[in-house]
Subunit: 362 residues, 3 copies
C-alpha cells in the first residue's frame, strides 16, 4: 500500500530466515541435482536446513543474490551456500559454497517450491467422511474434499481440485481443474472458478451485490441474479469478498492477484494480470483493464473505466478517471502533479506568511 | 464509495445480462400473467431466458426503461421484451414485444424476485443431521438448519429462519422470524437479530468490543458484558463485523443496509434506514441518526453524533461533527466547501508562482 | 480511528447499562465480599442486577466514578450502588449505597470479570464428538475442542486451551497455554500462538504472504515458507488477517492488541504492547516498535521502521518515517504540523482572494 506498495512484491529487503517453521535438509549434492547450476565453487560438503536473505543468513542457510545492488552483502553473509549470477567475481569464504545461475532468483524459487512440496500439508485424496456432498454434484478425479465441507446440488468439482476443511460450494457452482480452496472459503450459487485458482481462508465469492431501490425511504432489495466468474491462475487473499452481479457477472481476469480484505463490488470487471493490494475497494460496475496495479486501501468509485496498465498509489481515492498512467491522492490525479501539491501543502504556513508580508509592504 | 457511491445503488448503467448463471424461461403469456402490464404491443410469441440492461440485452432477453434519460436505448436494444412506462411513444421492432407499466422498475423487480425464487437453492426444512443443536435451544416451525451449524444453550430460533451451513449461534442468542443467515455466519452469545434480517457469509456479530485499561503499559481487557441488537429488515454484507457493547448494546436500526467488510465498534447506535457502503468503520459509542448515507471507506471517530439524513462521501474521515448535510474530505467538512478546497489545491503551483511574482514586483 | 481513536479505549462516556444481555444478581453483602471496599455508606439492603455508567444507570444498577471530572453525575445518578474514590465527599441519596475504593475502575473491572465468568458460555472440556483431530496432534489437559474443529497432523494444543466450533488448526501449528480461539478461526500450518492469546471469530493466521515475481507480465507466486509467531497475551479482532512470512516469521509481540479487520502483511514485526485499531493495514517487512498506537484505517507502507512509542492518528498514510512522536495525515507528518496545514487548507479561498487583491493593488 502507499507508493511503497510496489516494493512489496519485488522487495529484496530483509526477509529473515526460514528458521522456526518448515523443517528440511539438503546436501549440496541434492541441491546441485535439483537446481543444475552452471558452475559450483567452494565447499561441496555443506548441508542446508534454512533459506534466508544474505543479511540474515546464518550457517546452514542457503541465500541468493537477486540484484547486483546487494553484491557487497555476499562478502559478509554467513550463508553456507549462495546462488549467484555469472557476473559475480569474488571467491567464497572458507567452508562456503557458491552456485552460479543465469537467474539466481528463479533458482531460489525452484528450491522454495521443492521445500514447499516436501513440507506442506498434503491433503488426503478423496472425500472426508464428515463432508456433505449432494448426490447431484459432479466430482472429478484426484480431488481432495476435506472435513465438514458442504457441496450443494449441481456443483462441479473438476479434476485435481483441493477443497479444504469447512468450505461451502453453492448450487451449480463450478471449480476448475487444479484449484485450491483453503479452509472456510464460501463460493455461493452459480459462481464459476477457473483453473489453478487459489482462494485463501475466509474468502467469500458471490455474496449478493449491494443494490437497493429506495421507495418512500424504504430500501427495497434489488435481486442479484448474476454470478461471479473468476479466470485461471487467479489468487485471492484471506477474508476478501467478491459480490455477485445484478444480472450477468462480476468478472476477474486470468492471472490477476488480489490481496487480503479487498472488496470487489457487483458487476465489476477486472482484466488479466492485475495486482490489487490489501483492503482496496472497487465499487459496482467499474471496469479495470489488464495489468493494472492498485495499491492498498485504494477506493474506486462505481461506473468508472480504468485503462490497461494504469498504476494507482496506495490510499488513493479515484472518483473519476480522465488521464494519467500513475495516479495518487484523494481525489486522485497524475502522481507527479499530486506529489508537487503535497510538497506545496507543507509550504502553506510559509506562503501565508509571505502573503501577509506583501500586504504589510503595500 | 466516493461521491459516486450514491450511484452505486441507484445505478442505471450497464448491468450486463443474466447469461451464465441462473437458468429460466418465460413465455410471454406467463410473463403477462405474472406482471399484469397495462398494455401489450408487438410480438406475443417470444420466450425470454435472460434479463439484461437495454444496452447489453440480446435476443431472448427482457429489459426495462427505468429512467426516461435512457429512452434512446430502447430504439437500439436487442431485447426481445421491454418493460416501458406509459409515456414511451415509439413502436417495437419486428419480433419485439413492449409491455407498459406505471412503474417498469417495480415490474422488473417483481420478475427478478420470481426468477430468484425459482432458481435459488431452496434450503431443506428441518435440522440437518450434522448440525449440533443444544437441547435447551428453542427452534420454531418452518426452520432450516444446515449442515455443521452449531446452536448453543438457550438460543431462540424463530419461525421460518434459515441458518445455512457452518453458522454458529451463541448462548441465549435470538434470531427473529424469517431471517436468513448465509454460510459461516457467527452470532455470539446474547445477541439479538430482528425479523427478516439477512446476514451474508462470514459476518461476525457480537465479537468483543475493543476496550482496554492501560495500567503501567499493560493493556488490561475491559470485559464486554453487553450485546448487539439488530432491527428488523437489516442486511449486513460479507465479512462485516459488529462488536458487542461494554455494557448495554450496540444497536442497528430497522431497515438499515450495511455493505461488505464494514466495522461497527462497541456501543455504537445506528438509526433506521441507513445505508453504509463497504469498508467503512464506525468507532465506539458514536450514534448515527436515521436515514444517514455513508460512502465506502469512511472512518468515523468515537463518541460523535451524526444527525438524521446526513450523507458522507466515500473515503471521508469524520473526526467531529458540527454542521452540514453532506460531508466530504479528510478531515471532513461540508461538501461544497471541501470541493472548493480541492479545486484550489490543484491551483497551488500557480498560486505560489503568483506570490513569487508579486514579491519580485516589489 | 481518527485522532479521536484514542478515546475509544479510555472512553468514560455514555456506555449504557447491561440491561438486555447477561442476567445476574448480587446482594450488597455478596458485592462487599467480592470487592472488599474500604468503606460502605448508605443502604445495605440493595440488590443489583445491572452495570451501567452514572448517566445511564437506573435503579438496580451498580455504577462507578472513574474520573473526578464526572463527580457531578454522582449526585444525579439513579444507580443503586456507586463505587467511589476516597476523595468523594457527598452523601448517598435515600436508598442508595456508596462503596469506597482506592481505584474504583479496578473494582468495577473485578466485578465485570466476575459477572462474565458467571454468565458466559462455559465451553465443555474434552473433544467434541464431531471434531476431527489427527492422531499425531498433541492435546494438553483441560482443553476444550468444540464441534467441527479440525486439528491437523503434528499440531500442539497446550493445557487449558479453548478451541470453539469450526476452527481449523494447521499442520505442526502450536497453540499456547490458556489461549482461546473463538468460532471459525483459521490457524494455518506451522504457525505458533502464545499463551493466553484470544483470537476473535473469523481471524485468519498464516495465509500466504502476497508475493509475486513478475516475469514477462505473468505474476509467478513466490512460495511463502515462513510462519506467524504470536506472543503471549495478544488479542486479535474479528476477521483480521496476519500473513505468513516468505522465509522466517511474521511476528506480533507480547501484549499487543489488534482490532477487527486489520491486515498484517508478510514478514512484518510488531513489538510488545502495541494497540492497532480497526481496518488498519501494515505492508510487508515493516517493523513496528514497542507500545506503538495506530488509529483506525491507517496504511503503513512496506520496509519501514516505526520506533517505540510512536502514535499514528486514524486514516493516516505512512509512506516513510523520519521523525515525530505523533503522526497524522496523508502523507503523514508530525501532528502539529499537519493540524496547522489542515487549518490553512480551510483558509485557501481567503488566501486566493488576498493574492488577487494584492495583484489588483499593484
Amino acid at each position: 500500500m502507499i507508493p511503497g506498495g510496489g516494493r512489496r512484491f519485488f522487495g529484496k529487503g530483509r526477509m529473515g530466515v526460514s528458521g522456526g517453521a518448515m523443517r528440511f535438509s539438503y546436501t549440496l549434492v541434492k541441491l546441485v541435482e535439483l537446481l543444475r547450476p552452471k558452475r559450483v565453487v567452494g565447499n561441496t560438503e555443506v548441508e542446508i536446513t534454512e533459506v534466508g536473505s544474505l543479511a540474515d543468513a546464518r550457517s546452514g542457510c542457503v541465500s541468493f543474490l537477486g540484484n547486483m545492488k546487494y553484491r557487497n552483502e555476499v562478502q559478509t553473509t554467513n550463508a553456507s551456500v549462495v546462488l549467484l549470477p555469472p557476473s559475480y567475481e569474488n571467491e567464497p569464504k572458507d567452508g562456503q559454497c557458491f552456485l552460479f545461475f543465469d537467474n539466481p532468483s528463479l533458482a531460489i524459487g525452484l528450491l522454495c517450491r521443492d521445500i514447499e512440496r516436501k513440507c506442506a500439508l498434503r491433503p488426503a485424496l478423496g472425500i472426508h467422511g464428515t463432508a456433505v456432498v449432494d448426490d447431484t454434484a459432479s466430482i472429478g478425479s484426484g480431488v481432495s474434499v476435506g472435513p465438514n465441507v458442504v457441496i450443494c446440488p449441481g456443483a462441479t468439482i473438476s479434476d485435481g481440485v483441493v477443497i479444504m476443511a469447512g468450505c461451502y460450494i453453492g448450487k451449480d457452482a463450478k471449480i476448475g481443474e487444479g484449484s485450491i480452496l483453503r479452509p472456510s472459503v464460501v463460493v455461493m450459487d452459480f459462481c464459476e472458478i477457473g483453473k489453478r485458482v487459489t482462494l485463501s481462508p475466509g474468502v467469500v465469492i458471490g455474496a449478493d451485490g449491494f443494490g437497493y431501490e429506495t421507495v418512500d425511504g424504504v430500501h427495497e432489495k434489488i435481486p442479484q441474479l448474476g454470478n461471479v466468474i473468476i479466470g485461471d491462475d487467479v489468487e485471492i487473499g484471506a477474508n476478501a469478498t467478491v459480490d455477485r452481479a445484478r444480472f450477468s457477472c462480476t468478472k476477474i481476469g486470468r492471472g490477476t492477484k488480489i490481496d487480503n480484505l479487498v472488496q470487489i463490488g457487483h458487476n465489476v470487471t477486472i482484466g488479466d494480470g492485475c495486482i490489487i493490494i490489501a483492503q482496496t475497494g472497487i465499487s459496482g460496475s467499474t471496469t479495470i483493464g489488464n495489468h493494472v496495479v492498485i495499491g492498498g486501501q485504494v477506493g474506486i468509485a462505481g461506473h468508472l473505466h480504468i485503462p490497461d496498465g494504469v498504476m494507482i498509489a496506495g490510499k488513493s481515492s479515484v472518483a473519476s478517471y480522465k488521464s494519467g498512467r500513475v495516479l495518487r491522492g484523494n481525489p486522485s490525479m497524475p502522481i507527479n502533479e499530486m506529489n508537487r501539491i503535497y510538497v506545496l501543502m507543507r509550504q502553506l504556513p510559509e506562503l501565508f506568511a509571505r502573503v501577509s508580508s506583501l500586504e504589510k509592504g503595500k
